[in-house]
Symmetry: C2
Subunit: 470 residues, 2 copies
C-alpha cells in the first residue's frame, strides 16, 4: 500500500503523519514543490520582523523528524499530472527530470497561491525591482534579502487583510515607513467596520499610513525607486482622486486562490473559483483520491460548502484525509472561519458569521455591539474589550462573535469560547448560562462574552437582559 | 408588590438588579447584615496585597448606584426571622431595634460563613491576638489593620484552598514570611496532585513554606506572639510528628458553610449540610420564597444537586431568583464548578469533574495528562501549559479539564472553552474538531486543549489520536 501526498505544507504533512500514526506499514511519499516541507508560513511576518531569528525555526518539524517516521519526502518536485485511472502521479524535478509515482491512495494538498491583482506594471516587476508577493518561504527569503540588504526606508503594502497587517507591523519593527493601501473602505475587511476601526487607529498610532478606499492601479520602477499609482475606490462615477506614492519596497498581499491546476487537468471536480470539490471525508469523487487544505473547498458549520483557506482547517482536513486514506471513516466537522490577528499590541478575532454573511446564508440575524473590561476594574491593568455578537432573531442561535482588545485581554482565547458555543449550536442566551471562570485579576463574574449575550437578548427582546447583574 | 432580598452580596444584589431591570414598578428592599452591600469579597486578597489601594474600589457598584435604581438598602440589619405564612421578615438593626418588613416575594441570599475548624484555643482567640478568619469586608479591615499597624514579620495560613493561596501571595507581597499549612497531602485540593504540585513549587519558589499533610491542632497566644501547634495528618496510627511554629499573624481559611439559620428556623428545607434546598427556578418550596448563592444548594450540570459556593454561581442564581420573583420563569442551567486561581505568575483552572468525582457521579471516566506550548515555540515567550482531561470511556463525553500555566498562557480563558464544551455535552473527540483561533504569537494550529483531546482519545482507544498532526 503506497500513499502519495502532493504538497508538503500543513494539510499534506498532517495527512502523512496521521496515516503513519494509524498504520505503521503503509509506504508514504510526500512530493513537495519547493525545499520547505512543513514550514509554518503563518510565521513569516515574525521572521521578517526579526522576532524569529532563524528561518529554520519556522518549521513545525524538521525534515529529519518526518523522515524518521518513515515518511519519504521528495522536495523540489512539482506534480504535473495525475493519471486517475492508472493511479500514477507525474512530477518534474528541479533539473527537468520526470518523476513518476504509482499510488494506492493519493492526497492532493497543493495549497493556495497568491492572487496577482490587475495592477499595471506588476507583471513585469519582481523582487529585483523591490516588488514582492508573499506566500512561500522562497518569497520570505526574497523579502528578507530586500529588507536586510537594500535598507529600504519606505514600503507600500497593497492589501490590509491578515498578512498585510502583520507585515505592516513587521516592516515597522524594521524601521521602515509603511503605507498600507486597501481598496475596501476599511482595513481587515473580515471584521465589522466598528471593530476594524480600532485596528486602523492602532496602525496610525504606530506610524503606519493607512489609506483605505484606495485602489492601486499601477507600479512603476525608475532609478531603483518604485512609484505606486493609486485611485480612490470606484464610487459609481469611476475612480476618483488619483495619487502617487513612492517607496523602496512594495508588497502585494491581496489574498490567495486555490492551487488546483494539477487536479483540474486530471478531471477532478473543481468549483468555479478553482477549489477542489471534496465531501466531508475529504474524498474528491475520483477513486482513491483525497484533497485537503487551501486547494480544496471548506465545509462551514453554518454555511455549508465555501472556500476559506486557513492553517487550522488545513491541519484538520489533512488529518482526516490521512486517516481516511488508510481506511478510516472520519468526517470533517466543519470550519467556523475562526481567525485571530495580532496587530502591534492589539488583537482582533472573529468566529462564525457576521450580519451580512448570516443573511446571505439564509439566517435572520441581528448584530449587537457592546464592551466591557477583561477583568475587574479594581485590579490593575483592566482593559476594554469590544464585542459584536450576531445571533438569529427567530431561533436565538448564536451565529457569530467578533472581538477586539489588547493582547492582555485574552481576546484570542475568549473568541474560542464563542467558537465552541457556535459549534455546539448554543443559543445566545445559553452563552449567558455558561459557567466560565472568574478571579478578579483575570476575569469578571460575568465574562464580557456573557454581558454581550445579555445585551443581545435585551436588544432583541426589547426588555432587560442588558447585563443588569454585571 | 414588594420584593425583599435578605443579603447584599453577589446573589442578593443580582436578584434586586434583575427584578428592577424587568419591572420598574416593583418596590425592592435589600436587607444587609453589614455595611458593605455589593462588595467583591473575591477582591480582598488584592486589597491586602496593596494592589487595590482603596477598599471602596472593591464595590461592584456603589450604594448610590444601586439606590439610584430605586432599590432600597438597609445596612447593619440582620434577618432573624421569616414568617412564611405571614410574608414577613423580622430583622435586628445595630442598635438592637427590630425591623419588620412585609413582602410579596422574598429572596434569601444570606451567603456563607467561614468554617471554624476544631483547633484548640481558636474559640478564645481573635483579631486582638492576631488570629483571623477571612470572609467579609469587616474581616478584611481587621486583617489590613494587623498587616499595616502591627508590622507582622511572619504569618501562618491554615488552609491551602483558593483564598489561602491568594492570601499567601498577598502577605508575601507585604514582606511577611508565610507558612502555609494544609491537612491534605497537597495544596489546592480541588486540583489533581500532578497539577497542584506546580502550584506548590511556585509557592516555595516565592518563599512560602508549604507544609501539607499537616493538621493544625492548637493555637496559643503569649506575649504578643502566636504559636501554632501542628501534627502530621492521621495515617491510621494517629497523628505523627507534632511540631510548633511561631508567628505574628494567623489566618484560618479552611472553607465556608451555608449561612442558612434564618431559613431553617422558618421551616424552609435545608440539606444535612445546611444549604437551602432550591429547585432550578431557585424556589425554596415555601410560597413566594426564593434562595440563591452561597446559602443554597447548587445544581451541577453533571452531578445534579450539590453545594459549590462560587461568586459566578451566586451572580447567576441571584439573577434567576430576581427574574422569577417578578413573574419570570427562568431555570438555572447549572454549574460546572469552573474555577481559576492566580498564584503569583501561575494560573490554575478547572471545570467539570475530575476522575474520582466522575466515578462518584456514576460515570466511567479516564483522565489523561498532557502538555503543550501556549503558542508556536518559534515566537518568543512560548510557555508550557499542563492539561489533565477527563472523559467518559463509554460515551466519549468530555467530563472535565484541569490546566496549569503561567498567566501569559491564557489558562483562564482556555478553561472556558472546555467549560463551554462540557456544558454543551460535546465529546472529547469533538474538542479536537473545534475551530479554534490561531496566530503564531498567541496559539498553535492545534490548541493545547485539542492535542490533549487527541491524547485522551489515543490513550483510551489504544491507537493513534495522540497529536500526530500537531
Amino acid at each position: 500500500m503506497h500513499l502519495v501526498v502532493v504538497g508538503g505544507s500543513d494539510a499534506g504533512i498532517s495527512a502523512a503523519l496521521r496515516a503513519r500514526e494509524l498504520d505503521d506499514r503503509v509506504e508514504i511519499t510526500v512530493m513537495v514543490a519547493d525545499d520547505y516541507p512543513n514550514f509554518s508560513i503563518c510565521g513569516i511576518p515574525y521572521y521578517v520582523a526579526g522576532e524569529v531569528a532563524d528561518w529554520r525555526d519556522l518549521a513545525h518539524r524538521t525534515r529529519s523528524d518526518i523522515e524518521g517516521l518513515g515518511i519519504g519526502i521528495r522536495t523540489g518536485t512539482s506534480a504535473e499530472e495525475i493519471d486517475v485511472a492508472g493511479h500514477r502521479v507525474t512530477g518534474v524535478d528541479r533539473d527537468g527530470g520526470t518523476v513518476e509515482l504509482g499510488y494506492d491512495r493519493l492526497v492532493i494538498a497543493t495549497g493556495a497561491c497568491p492572487v496577482r491583482p490587475g495592477i499595471d506594471g506588476l507583471a513585469h516587476l519582481g523582487p529585483a525591482e523591490g516588488v514582492h508577493l508573499l506566500h512561500t518561504m522562497t518569497d520570505a527569503h526574497r523579502v528578507m534579502d530586500a529588507v536586510t540588504g537594500r535598507d529600504p526606508g519606505s514600503a507600500v503594502i497593497v492589501g490590509a487583510g491578515y498578512i498585510g497587517l502583520e507585515m505592516a507591523e513587521a516592516l515597522t519593527a524594521r524601521g521602515i515607513a509603511v503605507t498600507q493601501m486597501e481598496a475596501l473602505p476599511q482595513v481587515l475587511p473580515t471584521l465589522d467596520p466598528e471593530l476594524a476601526g480600532r485596528v486602523a487607529e492602532k496602525l496610525e498610532e504606530r506610524g503606519v499610513k493607512v489609506r483605505t478606499s484606495t485602489v492601486v492601479t499601477g507600479i512603476r520602477s525608475s532609478g531603483g525607486r518604485l512609484t505606486v499609482e493609486a485611485a480612490g475606490a470606484e464610487n459609481g462615477a469611476g475612480h476618483q482622486g488619483a495619487s502617487e506614492e513612492s517607496a523602496d519596497l512594495v508588497l502585494v498581499v491581496t489574498g490567495v486562490r486555490p492551487e488546483s491546476g494539477v487536479a483540474g487537468r486530471a478531471g477532478i471536480g473543481v468549483t468555479r473559483n478553482g477549489a477542489i470539490r471534496v465531501d466531508r471525508r475529504m474524498g474528491t469523487g475520483a477513486p482513491d483520491v483525497f484533497a485537503a487544505g487551501d486547494c480544496a473547498v471548506t465545509h462551514h458549520v453554518l454555511v455549508g460548502e465555501t472556500y476559506l483557506p486557513l492553517g487550522t482547517t488545513a491541519h484538520k482536513q489533512g488529518r482526516i484525509a490521512g486517516e481516511n486514506a488508510v481506511g478510516g471513516d472520519r468526517r470533517f466537522a466543519g470550519s467556523l472561519g475562526t481567525q485571530v490577528v495580532k496587530v502591534f499590541d492589539l488583537v482582533a478575532g472573529r468566529t462564525g458569521l457576521r450580519d451580512q454573511e448570516s443573511v446571505a446564508a439564509g439566517f435572520h440575524p441581528r448584530t449587537v455591539g457592546s464592551a466591557g473590561d477583561d477583568h475587574k476594574a479594581y485590579y490593575p491593568g483592566a482593559e476594554r474589550v469590544e464585542v459584536r455578537m450576531t445571533g438569529e432573531v427567530t431561533s436565538g442561535r448564536l451565529l457569530g462573535t467578533q472581538m477586539v482588545g489588547r493582547i492582555s485581554t485574552g481576546v484570542h482565547k475568549r473568541i474560542d469560547t464563542a467558537a465552541a458555543a457556535i459549534f455546539a449550536g448554543l443559543t445566545v442566551d445559553q452563552v449567558s448560562d455558561l459557567d466560565l471562570s472568574y478571579t478578579p485579576p483575570l476575569g469578571s463574574p460575568w465574562d464580557v462574552l456573557q454581558t454581550a449575550a445579555q445585551g443581545w437578548t435585551s436588544a432583541v427582546a426589547g426588555v432587560g437582559g442588558a447585563g443588569g447583574t454585571r
